[in-house]
Symmetry: C5
Subunit: 95 residues, 5 copies
């Protein structure tokens, strides 16, 4: 999974029908120090993530292993909201 920060949403009315009701979030990748890396992904939201929240994103076929995304043309999903993480014993982020 990748760490990321929710920076916005994408609106798309015309889409593959199975994607109706899926919320598309813009997520910027974040490194273990908490810095944005410059890369990003558009991910479906399976957990009700809000703006600015730190999240975990699963990609590829694993992105379809949620109730919201099963059998849908979706290659990235927010499947967890991050509370905290640590690196070498030091807390690097706490919500």
């Amino acid at each position: 999974m990748n760490l990321g920060r929710v920076i916005g949403t994408v609106v798309a009315t015309r889409k593959e029908q199975s994607m109706d009701g899926i919320k598309f979030m813009l997520v910027r990748h974040v490194d273990p120090e908490g810095k944005e890396t410059g890369s990003f992904v558009v991910a479906a939201d399976a957990v009700g993530a809000g703006p600015d929240e730190l999240v975990l994103v699963a990609t590829g076929s694993s992105a379809r292993q949620t109730v919201a995304t099963d059998k849908r043309p979706c290659d990235a999903v927010i499947m967890a909201i991050v509370d905290s993480w640590d690196v070498d014993g030091t807390e690097k982020y706490k919500k």
Copy 2:
């Protein structure tokens, strides 16, 4: 998913038979600021995207989860046409 702009089409007469009728689009990737990143992908079109439209592209096995691409050797699909997106509360693109 990736954000992209449709920049052209690819014509291929000789191909795996299951790909008959699939339209191949050249899509340049676009970042959250709306700038082209330089990378691109050839994607099957599942939603009737036209030239210059901003789209979402799903890749990998998820690219086969549309009516048009099911069970086909297709690793990228346009599965939505983008109306708008915002970053940190600011609208960055509107159709």
Copy 3:
């Protein structure tokens, strides 16, 4: 899919048995301007591509969705031979 040019072939006698009869092609990636990008892939040939031909390559599990590659340990397949493509209304390649 990726655009590429067939630059050669790879011969491998000792291999997973299911790969018998599969032809391995060296394919250099090509960008929308028709320039080689420097990266490459070894792809199974599902369409009878010849040297120097411009082709489309599908990767990942989608590379197994051809008659030739089904259920085989093959992660890249030439599934179409390119006739032409255009970018922003200008033809960039014609066979």
Copy 4:
């Protein structure tokens, strides 16, 4: 698979329900010389890896082929703890 070093853990209370009980580890990638490459991944732990241990990480759909991760939205898993490796006949790491 990738070589990596476990550098920390990620805590996430709100997540896709099927991920309950999965431990998320921060893993920095390591090259054959044993040097960290700068890239990293958040991986589910299937083998009880501890801090600082060198591990193998499998990604993509293969990350779901463990008892712990089967059918879950998980795209990276620690599936082995490394005892040692050698390069061109020289031992580069020993636990």
Copy 5:
């Protein structure tokens, strides 16, 4: 697939049980000129590859399509040993 050279082996006693008996090989990627590219992968060996041999590596779910790796958490497999390859009519490698 990728071209690579077997540079070593990785020993891991503690691992997902289904990986028992799988041999992990360190493989450095090689370009069509035969030069190492700097990147590498740890791949399961399905064909009895030895040190220094040039091989083909399949990744992703395709890495599970061998007798040795079926249904295992394995995302890279050596599925062929390379005898030779040519680029633009010139032989670049011969075993």
